[in-house]
Assembly symmetry: C2
Homo-oligomer: 269 residues x 2
């Protein structure tokens, strides 16, 4: 997908909501467990109920891998369903991949070619030749971890490094990678106070912001410093939407939660 | 697997060779392409021919993911074959995973429970709560990226950070993680000159060393500073062994290359 299509969709829907599909069998409505593929049935219902409120969907790959081959099949059916029925939705494989050059090329093929995602999240630790193989795919996007939403972010990312915090070095260095126009960044909502510095380094990039909801980040704070002329934000919510109800009304309740967030977002646009 | 079993195996075989199963369909012997599962048939033949020369096997997960569900099936068959026929071999899922706590738990389940690997490689960028969920599994091992073998390692890992290179901070910080006795580290063979400093920080840890062979690292240099009282090294070779021949003799030629490396290793023990 081209970025202009994503921006157009955000303006039309008045939403920059990304829904994280972190599907945990233990949390699914019990009536779905009797179906042949509960994970896919759950995703399908959530997607059908929320597609007009969200602009992006983000399956968290770990939750599918933990189910083995069956999980990989549910993932494939989910992404195929999105691409067939809602091709306007921006899809994110939340996979946190990254390895030496020829191996990163294989991961890029897995997510961009075999599964046909619009984007994938990538860890920066291994540097340039671990990221550029992803960037080489036209109209596909690489979302690099910069400042994550979890407590462990303080172990390395925020510490001083060459007179700057490491996460700022990741932003500055990656701007010089070949095809860096295909880069976006993960910035945790729980670190909203850092967004002013971040926007000084990457004023135009899209930021994928997890951590609103279960992790405690504030949408208002994120918007205050994070919005740019193209909106430039995708704010993710997973558990807060997916598990709003464990009954037969789970999709309806999920849509209500998504609508709440969409309305808040509309007020900032 | 307990570490004492790994060390005993190394002493008995006079080898600390790890064979990387980076299986690329384009490089397989052509006669295998007619079989139902060429990737598994290739792995099976390589494993049967080399199991007495190596102590560890390391499927590179990207190469399987790039083949979609079929690749995931080949991976499952490969690990099951190893665990059934050669349970003494230490198995490494080279996956470079790492995410916020509940997601890392899912990745750990995928590799330690569903696939039953002895160990998995993990990226440190997200810090403590992205690593500890892996460490929580008894007699399973987490191999943390510290100083990788690729050129991109110089982007962040070797740069000064809190008055030390970042990779040293990763070693020092991770030593304090809960269950850090289950930690090993990836140290690229192309960075052998750094091993003296590394051994000063983690004298007892096992190091997984890729980069001998195709990437140009020297086994002699690695051994000079890397060996400890328990050997403490697993040296990986992938392409140099797997693709020694494209003919029907591919497994025999792979065993010859493995034997060459094993004999060199024996001379350092």
């Amino acid at each position: 997908m081209e970025l202009t299509q994503l921006v157009e969709q955000i303006r039309r829907k008045k939403s920059f909501l990304c829904i994280g599909l972190d599907v945990d069998l233990k949390k699914l409505p019990t009536h779905l467990l009797e179906t042949k593929d509960p994970v896919f049935e759950f995703n399908k219902a959530i997607i059908d109920a929320t597609h007009h409120l969200a602009v992006a969907l983000k399956p968290n790959i770990a939750f599918y891998e933990a189910l083995g081959i069956k999980g990989w099949e549910s993932l494939k059916k989910t992404i195929d369903y999105i691409n067939e029925h809602y091709p306007e939705l921006f899809t994110i494989a939340d996979a946190k991949r990254g390895d030496i050059g020829n191996t990163s090329t294989m991961y890029a093929k897995a997510f961009f070619e075999d599964l046909n995602f619009d984007s994938v999240t990538v860890a920066p630790y291994m540097g340039r030749d671990s990221v550029e193989p992803f960037l080489a795919f036209k109209d596909r996007h690489t979302i690099l971890l910069s400042l994550t939403s979890n407590p462990g972010a303080f172990d390395f990312q925020t510490k001083e490094y060459a007179a700057k915090p490491l996460y700022q070095n990741v932003l500055e260095t990656s701007k010089n990678y070949v095809n860096s126009e295909n880069l976006m960044y993960v910035i945790g909502a729980t670190k909203a106070e850092y967004l002013k510095d971040i926007r000084a380094i990457v004023p135009e990039s899209f930021l994928l912001v997890p951590g609103v909801g279960a992790q405690g980040g504030s949408l208002k704070e994120v918007c205050k410093y994070g919005l740019n002329d193209n909106v430039g934000l995708l704010v993710n919510s997973s558990r807060g939407i997916l598990y709003a109800s464990k009954g037969k009304d789970f999709a309806e309740k999920a849509a209500e939660k998504a609508k709440d967030l969409q309305l808040q977002m509309a007020s900032f646009l």
